[in-house]
């Protein structure tokens, strides 16, 4: 009985730690994403619009490269953030 209660308590603590790490990750991630929005939309918006109206095949190629590149980058960032924050909270 006491063993089960201890186990439950430990699980609760671990869940709280994971949740805290996740929330911190979300805040850090949100700040990075907002900065990224302004950079990408400001610098790439006009150029991509021009490419889309004038060079469709180049636009299609760049579009796929951008979305895959961003996905790989974001996956690395979120994995890194999660690992770092979990490592710190443990």
């Amino acid at each position: 009985m006491r063993f089960e209660a201890k186990n439950l308590e430990r699980m609760k603590k671990e869940t709280a730690k994971t949740l805290r790490a996740f929330l911190i990750e979300l805040v850090v991630y949100a700040v990075l994403v907002v900065a990224y929005f302004f950079l990408v939309l400001h610098f790439l918006g006009g150029w991509l619009h021009h490419l889309e109206t004038r060079h469709r095949y180049s636009y299609a190629t760049v579009a796929i490269l951008l979305i895959i590149g961003q996905a790989v980058l974001l996956e690395s960032v979120t994995t890194f953030l999660l690992r770092m924050l979990r490592g710190r909270s443990e």
Binding site: F37, T61, V62, I67, I68, A71, E75, T78
Partner: protein
């Protein structure tokens, strides 16, 4: 925020939230989520052609994140995914041609709507029957984590025994099966993708489990990997036609990156039949959306 390519004003927070929601669904179930993304983009005033093309581009990004995470968890069969991509692209082209034929006949909307409702409801009904039967069996009740057992498994085993040359061994999935069976399953998925729109993960993921006999976790991860290839092809095709606003897709993807990771990691805590049972509402939501568009008379 103004998006110059499509000429739309959309809140980036809204886009990131939609991406986050679809990311969770995609990571957990291995679907593209176009049945939510399409209407969600239409709801904020994006033209239908841009909604379809941009959604495909966003699916590519979300699937890269989720597939990478699933690969780290050992849930991706690259060999199977590459073979399936060939069949899917072929099927998608035939499906798109079928749509053109129906357009010329003048009854495309009704035919596509009726077919999609029938398919969605059939998939959901079958999966609820199978997963409940499996979960109520003694073997099904004992399953934990990534374990997988299906009361319908004998059908997949019978299909695997069909000795039609060339036979392909898939060591990651633990299956030996005819190449033609894999191509037919992928072709049918692609056909529905081209015919009904979206990635057709709601057909391909269950087909991989019930027809090919792939364990559910591997089916989810492999489907996501396969979606990267087929959706990239679709994105390129739509972008050339001027139907993709890549800036919107990039913003949506920022939310999807987090959602897809949460969805993919969550699969580790559920046995195969439980994932299949949780999958049931997805095709039903798709059917409800189609019925709604039939009633109101225009696409969402």
């Amino acid at each position: 925020m103004f998006f110059p390519i499509s000429g739309a004003h959309i809140s980036p927070i809204y886009l990131a939230l939609v991406g986050f929601l679809i990311g969770i669904l995609g990571g957990f179930f291995g679907v593209g989520g176009s049945f939510i993304a399409g209407p969600a983009l239409r709801a904020v005033g994006l033209d239908w052609n841009f909604a379809v093309g941009t959604d495909l581009a966003h699916i590519v990004g979300k699937s890269v994140v989720a597939a990478k995470r699933h690969r780290a968890l050992g849930n991706v069969d690259l060999k199977l995914g590459l073979i399936m991509a060939i069949g899917t692209i072929g099927g998608a082209e035939v499906g798109a041609q079928l749509i053109q034929l129906l357009k010329r006949a003048g009854n495309v909307n009704l035919v596509v709507s009726v077919v999609s409702i029938a398919i969605y409801v059939s998939i959901s009904s079958f999966m609820i029957w199978e997963s409940r039967k499996t979960l109520s069996s003694a073997k099904g009740r004992r399953q934990k984590g990534k374990q997988d057992h299906s009361e319908f498994g004998h059908v997949a085993r019978a299909i695997q025994r069909m000795n039609i040359w060339p036979m392909i061994t898939l060591p990651v999935s633990g299956v030996t099966i005819s190449l033609w069976v894999i191509l037919v399953v992928a072709f049918v998925g692609g056909l529905f993708s081209g015919f009904l729109g979206g990635g057709a993960g709601y057909i391909r993921m269950p087909s991989m489990v019930y027809v090919l006999g792939i364990p559910t976790h591997l089916a989810v991860g492999t489907d996501l990997f396969e979606i990267i290839i087929s959706a990239s092809y679709g994105t390129f095709s739509h972008a050339v036609k001027g139907n993709v606003d890549i800036l919107i897709a990039l913003v949506m993807n920022t939310g999807a990156a987090v959602g897809a990771q949460i969805g993919a990691i969550s699969t580790q805590y559920f046995a195969g039949p439980k994932i299949r049972l949780a999958f049931v509402p997805l095709p039903l939501i798709g059917a409800a959306i189609v019925i709604y568009t039939l009633v109101i008379g225009h696409k969402l």
